[in-house]
């Protein structure tokens, strides 16, 4: 689905954000990018999304991406404060010129999916952080993209809300057979969500390690408290520390 080969990115000004990054993502897979802040995770995600151009290397989507073929959720909910939830979710459809009636129906469908059907007319400033993030996720899904890219979407949320959103995300992505690239700096979150974790280190950003999580894609009840989960987290923390050294 996504192939990245020998990718490099040097920002104007000389910061080498990425060097020699290669990775792949298969259809329907959930891959996490894990690393300390400043290691180039966002840069990699933005290059994959086509928002910035790489300095060297190759990024290839198969089949090639269409407009609206990719949903992106940023660290901030980035909602338009002057529009209510429903109109925020409609945004990608409005850009694509979809008619008002269909826009409305699909936005409501997505809001229901994320559990906000009763908040469609609410303005962002009246919503909690978790709810805003749900609106942002609904907006990313409204074009029914096969791919979802998330850049530390839950970093600013409290632990309970974060776990709830992790569960909901797994359910939504499982149902829709989405391919997901999930950026995080939390080892536990990466273990809980993904089938594969790509570990990065900084200056210049590079992938140093790959860990496969052998657990059913639909996490069993209590996976978070299982010895297996704790073992993975321990293994990853050790590897992260080794990578940083």
């Amino acid at each position: 689905m996504l192939t990245i080969e020998n990718l490099g990115k040097v920002f104007p000004g000389g910061t080498a954000a990425l060097a020699g990054v290669s990775m792949q993502m298969a259809q329907g897979e959930i891959v996490s990018l894990l690393g300390p802040s400043g290691c180039g995770k966002s840069t990699l995600l933005r290059i994959a999304a086509g928002l910035i151009a790489p300095s060297s290397g190759r990024v290839e989507w198969t089949p090639p991406l269409e407009k609206g073929g990719i949903g992106v959720v940023f660290q901030d909910p980035t909602l338009m404060p002057w529009a209510n939830s429903r109109r925020n979710v409609e945004t990608p459809l409005r850009i694509a010129g979809v008619g008002a009636r269909e826009r409305h129906a699909r936005a409501m469908e997505m809001l229901t999916l994320v559990g906000l059907e009763n908040f469609s007319e609410a303005y962002p400033r009246t919503l909690s952080g978790g709810m805003k993030m749900r609106v942002s996720i609904a907006r990313a899904l409204v074009t029914r993209p096969p791919v979802l890219l998330l850049d530390e979407p839950f970093a600013a949320l409290d632990e309970i809300t974060r776990q709830q959103l992790n569960d909901d995300l797994l359910e939504i992505c499982g149902k829709a057979r989405l391919s997901v690239l999930f950026v995080t700096h939390s080892a536990a979150e990466a273990v809980y969500l993904s089938e594969r974790i790509l570990m990065m280190r900084a200056r210049p950003g590079a992938i140093v390690n790959e860990i496969r999580i052998n657990a059913p894609a639909r996490r069993a009840e209590g996976f978070r408290h299982s010895p297996q989960f704790a073992a993975y987290c321990g293994q990853i923390s050790t590897a992260l520390r080794a990578a940083a050294a």
Partner: protein
């Protein structure tokens, strides 16, 4: 709470007026130095016809200049947002126009624009006074659009027009509205200053009434004209504040404490 906010300034003004009246009577201040509020009120009633005509003329020039300043400032700012080259070429000119004291260029404007039509010179000076805050705030507002939203629009392949109308203009709205509150007052100031500079007889706005009554030592009438002038300024400010509340009430942070 809300009643207190309206009542307390009114109370203060009433007390000040009472004190003024009392002191003028007590010390027998001559009317050509400082007339009592009651005398001002009488002057207002006596001359209200001519004063209102003058007030209307000043108001008309201010409003016309204000509307043209908003239209011009917004259009130019939009143009700037679309082309960096145009911005770099024209913005310094706008700054020069702004930093040159309006009183200093007024005689020139009166000669160039006002020789056959004095009102045109007044309009132009009021416009110059009101234009810059709109241009500079609007330019800032268009640029202050959330980068995340701009990224999002790029991701979905939005056109420049979509980005302008759906993100940049709404982002700039709070900036524009606060500029309008400033420019509304400035257009009035500009109209009055222009009239002073243009001299007597050229036009018959409130500034002319003030000069005229000053020359004839009708100080009470002068105060009456001043009173009308500040009422105009207050009315303009309140209208624009009301417009701001109306447009931003539902979403903007500055309205948070007023509930949803």
């Amino acid at each position: 709470m809300k009643a207190a906010r309206i009542l307390s300034p009114i109370l203060v003004v009433l007390m000040a007026l009472g004190l003024w009246e009392a002191l003028v009577r007590l010390w027998q201040v001559p009317a050509f130095v400082l007339p009592a509020p009651s005398a001002i009120w009488r002057a207002l009633l006596e001359d209200y016809a001519s004063l209102l005509v003058s007030a209307w003329m000043t108001l008309r020039i201010s409003i016309t200049a204000f509307v043209l300043a908003v239209a011009g400032g917004v259009s130019l700012a939009v143009l700037f947002s679309q082309s960096r080259a145009v911005e770099m070429a024209l913005f310094p000119l706008a700054v020069i126009l702004q930093v040159t004291p309006i009183v200093a260029i007024a005689p020139l404007i009166v000669i160039w624009a006002g020789i056959d039509n004095p009102n045109r010179a007044l309009l132009l000076m009021a416009w110059i006074a009101a234009f810059f805050p709109v241009l500079s705030n609007m330019t800032l507002g268009l640029r202050a659009a959330d980068h995340g939203l701009l990224d999002l629009y790029r991701l979905y392949g939005a056109s420049r027009w979509q980005v302008l109308t759906q993100i940049r203009l709404p982002s700039a709205l709070p900036y524009l509205l606060s500029a309008m509150k400033i420019s509304g007052g400035l257009s009035l100031i500009g109209a009055v200053v222009a009239e002073f500079v243009a001299g007597s007889g050229a036009s018959m706005g409130l500034a002319w009434r003030i000069m005229e009554s000053g020359n004839r030592l009708q100080i009470a009438k002068m105060f009456a004209a001043l009173l009308l002038l500040s009422l105009l300024g207050i009315a303009i400010f309140f209208c624009l504040s009301a417009l701001e509340s109306l447009l931003l009430r539902r979403w903007h942070e500055s309205r948070l404490e007023q509930g949803s």
